[in-house]
Homo-oligomer: 258 residues x 2
């Protein structure tokens, strides 16, 4: 709720040049990001963001349609950054060509079978490579509280209060991220099919969003958990839980093929 | 938004006797249930519920603390009804003693190994029994849109705006339901450990909540999906997707044991 000098009487300048507009836009996204990380996405209003940037709410609406569009932009940005982290965590462990871009989800050619990749007898889900994929995926979400918080809000709220064009742009980004993540998984575990890799990534993303909300209760509920042993079972430790679920999914994909 | 005759000038009667109070409480829950099923949990306000019952908002607040407490009561009710459906779907297929109550999550004694249960070579996840469990679980959520919608709202909103006592009561109900569901799974798949059965149930419930929101977009997003083939990959068909994920999880639990 801090007010910057900019908003003081008489000194407020409307951004007119393209670079000023981009700067203002970045400032709005940065303010929303900081507030959401501190207080949780659900509590941050358009007025909070405007106050943090030090502009009026009406000025903010020249840059974004709605509060939801601001958070949808942050979600798209978080997906792109998440894919970069998956590349960083998994590409060095698996030699061979870099995984294909979003337009080319399946790799032709033989599997690389590099170090850590299981032999053919494991159906491609080599234990070493599967453990690495499970760990990198668990941390990719566990280390990104804002992405996890946003995932749960996206279908529930964010996609419902923006223009069709804004939601379309967002969907293409998120689908692209899932496709590229699936290609990264397939590069590490070539025994899985492209569809199975997509299934794994989509399930992990949905679970990360749902479990993060459970792992991060409000202050009243957190106090209750701490005080009542009967409720201990309701607590979730996010990264270990995601790692274990990833291991289960990767172990089950090939054997459950119909 | 319909007004019942009760709310007309002069005819409104305050419920005074205990049975009248219970009736009024049921009417409030029933109105919230109908509106949430029709319009989605996120759009239903306290004022909408009061208008549907035909009482004033202040009168409604004599029965429930907040809008969120009303929906938390509906969630508890939905969990109990869901467990009953799991019993109905799985108990007849697996002979032997009924699964234990919530206070006794693990069964001592040897596995029953009834028809449809896999032999020891499958690690207890017999294909027939596992397929049945996957199908019954997928339908238990797919057939219950209100439960699925509520699951996503529970940690995000409902548990954050009620008294500690209300959230504690709710948590004991939901934990009891998960524990009983895990016991039902273990009865069908005695090769799994109690912890693995709980892991399966918890993952399925979280996924059902998250995927239901994706499978049920608002009108604008649904129109976009229908019109744009690039976005087809974002659609989810809830019950088949849950069935497939359940099969993967059940196939992966035993092999991924550390």
């Amino acid at each position: 709720m801090s007010t910057s000098p900019e908003v003081s009487a008489g000194t407020y300048q409307r951004a007119r040049r393209p670079e000023q507009k981009l700067e203002r836009r970045d400032a709005i996204l940065g303010a929303a990001r900081e507030l959401a990380l501190r207080d949780g996405v659900r509590t941050v209003s358009l007025a909070d963001i405007a106050a943090r940037v030090g502009i009026h709410k009406s000025a903010l609406l020249r840059y974004f349609e709605t509060r939801e569009q601001i958070f949808l932009e942050l979600t798209a940005e978080a997906w792109r950054e998440w894919v970069t982290a998956l590349h960083a965590g998994l590409d060095p462990a698996v030699p061979g060509p870099a995984s294909p871009g979003p337009g080319e989800p399946g790799r032709a050619g033989p599997g690389t079978g590099g170090p850590g990749t299981g032999g053919p007898g494991t159906g491609g889900s080599g234990t070493g490579a599967a453990a690495l994929v499970a760990d990198v995926f668990a941390r990719s979400f566990g280390d990104r509280p804002l992405l996890c918080d946003l995932i749960a809000h996206t279908p529930l709220n964010l996609e419902r209060n923006v223009s069709p064009e804004a939601v379309r742009r967002y969907k293409l980004t998120s689908l692209g991220a899932v496709g590229e993540a699936a290609a990264i998984v397939r590069h590490a575990l070539p025994g899985l099919t492209p569809a199975e890799c997509t299934e794994f990534v989509a399930a992990m993303a949905s679970l990360a969003g749902a479990l993060w909300q459970i792992a991060n209760p409000g202050p009243a509920l957190a106090a209750l958990y701490a005080s009542d042993p009967d409720l201990a079972g309701a607590c979730v430790d996010l990264t270990p839980r995601l790692r274990r679920t990833a291991e289960i999914l990767l172990a089950g994909l090939a054997p459950s093929r119909s």
